[in-house]
Amino acid sequence: MTDHLDPVRPFAADEPAADELARVVREHAGRLAASLMSLLGDFSAAEDLVQDAVESALRRWPEEGIPERPDAWLFTVARRRGLDVLRRQENYRTKLAQLQWPVRPAPDDRLRLIFICCHPALARQAQIALTLRVVCGLTTAQIAAAFVVPESTVAQRITRAKRKIADAGIPYRIPRDDELAERLSEVLTVIYLLFNEGYLSSTAERAHSRDLVDDAEWLTALLAGLLPNEPEVTGLLVLIRLHRARVAARFTSDGHIVLLQDQTRARWDHAAIADATALLTRTARRHHSPGPYQLQAAIAACHCEAATWAETDWEQILVLYNMLLLLQPNAVTRLHRTVAVRYVEGVHAALTELEGLQETLGKYALFYATRAELLRASGRNAEAHQADEQALALTANPAQHDLLRDRLSS
């Protein structure tokens, strides 16, 4: 195997190289994990070998260039390493020694990988870390950086999760039809959290970490390809794409948040918005009674299709929130809904709605920020000021901090 001696794309600058590296690794790491998994039947061993190959690639490709056949390169490294470390496990060694690239995994293999990583018997944080590592090929260090936690914490979560998979007999397979809805919803929750974390990181280190949003979109697109008849997967995909289409207008050049009502809508990616909304419409036509992700995507689409803030179709948005509330009768949905209530029924109705949420959302920055806006709109400036201060005390996000400080000083 000499592929890696034949660099095809030397790197010009740091930033695109890192993006390109992430993209290529992600495209191949999950496939390799799936191949090794079906070969060895041991999730933990397969996962270790992939991680090792990914780390080698991230060390060597920046200098040597990305090989023409990254999949074969990764496989060769994983195989060599496997023969080395699995010395004591004769059966693995024999299997690996016989193996020739390319292994053609069945198209479903990465789907099995996603379902085992997001198994409900694993802790939420472990599901997220495992999915990123195994399916997207992120290293432990990259995950730790994205979530601003110590690397040892992520490593420990992964070790524990892998041990539980083996010890508790968590199967490597696609859930049966009667289990699919529940298990798919678990997977979508993991991806949604990933997207949220990336979209507006709640940590102080960086306000906007683009990588996780990219990974979330990639994962959802992968899932949509593997499960083409699941409308909620498409719903999440559209939701993520509609948010990404507006990203250029969300921050000023120095990292300040620009609220939706103040965004320059010409800077939105209108072609991407048209594609995403068309996809949502096609899905809605084929499936009745939309689920929560389709409804959230439809709300985002209403905003995206309004030429100006003043032209926003709040009545339609309120209808969609009412439908969402039936499916997800929780306080956060009601909080978001109050914004639509404000424009349809007036600021007093919205404030009354909000009062009822104080007990549940009293530790939630967005509750106070929303309250502040509504109070300001009804001329109660002193109370608005106080609510902004409460919001400020509850958020760790630097961009949100700046926004609230600006409001407090104006």
Binding site: H119, A121, D167, A168, G169, I170, P171, R173, P175, E179
Partner: protein, 114 residues
């Protein structure tokens, strides 16, 4: 793979059972019996239903002398009320089985060391 299922009663559940009429109670037992019949080929060991936590005695052997106390090993609102051992393909099969359980509201699934 072998797992132990630990059935756990809560205070609310105990109250619900207490409030049942004899006919309701009989129907509830019938549902439990049916569950055991439906899953007979998976159940490898089974105790009867345990008596209440008030009847438990706990012995601690980690001190210089054994210490015997009244009550369960954890004082709490949730108490183990029965234990069975099952032999199934994997955790998903155990989960499917547990989700059809018709009585007490909490079940812990624990794999047995092979």
């Amino acid at each position: 793979m072998k797992y132990v299922l630990m059935f756990v009663d809560t205070e609310e559940f105990a109250k619900e059972v207490e409030a049942m009429s004899p006919a309701e109670l009989e129907a509830a037992y019938e549902r439990v019996n049916q569950w055991f019949v439906d899953n007979a080929d998976r159940i490898t060991a089974r105790t009867g239903k345990l008596q209440g936590a008030a009847t438990a005695t706990t012995v601690r052997l980690d001190g210089p002398e054994p210490v015997t106390t009244d009550g369960p090993f954890i004082e709490g609102k949730e108490v183990v009320s029965g234990v069975i051992e099952i032999d199934v393909e994997d955790l998903d099969e155990a989960l499917r089985m547990v989700k059809t359980w018709p009585a007490c509201p909490v079940i812990e699934i624990r794999p047995v060391v092979a």
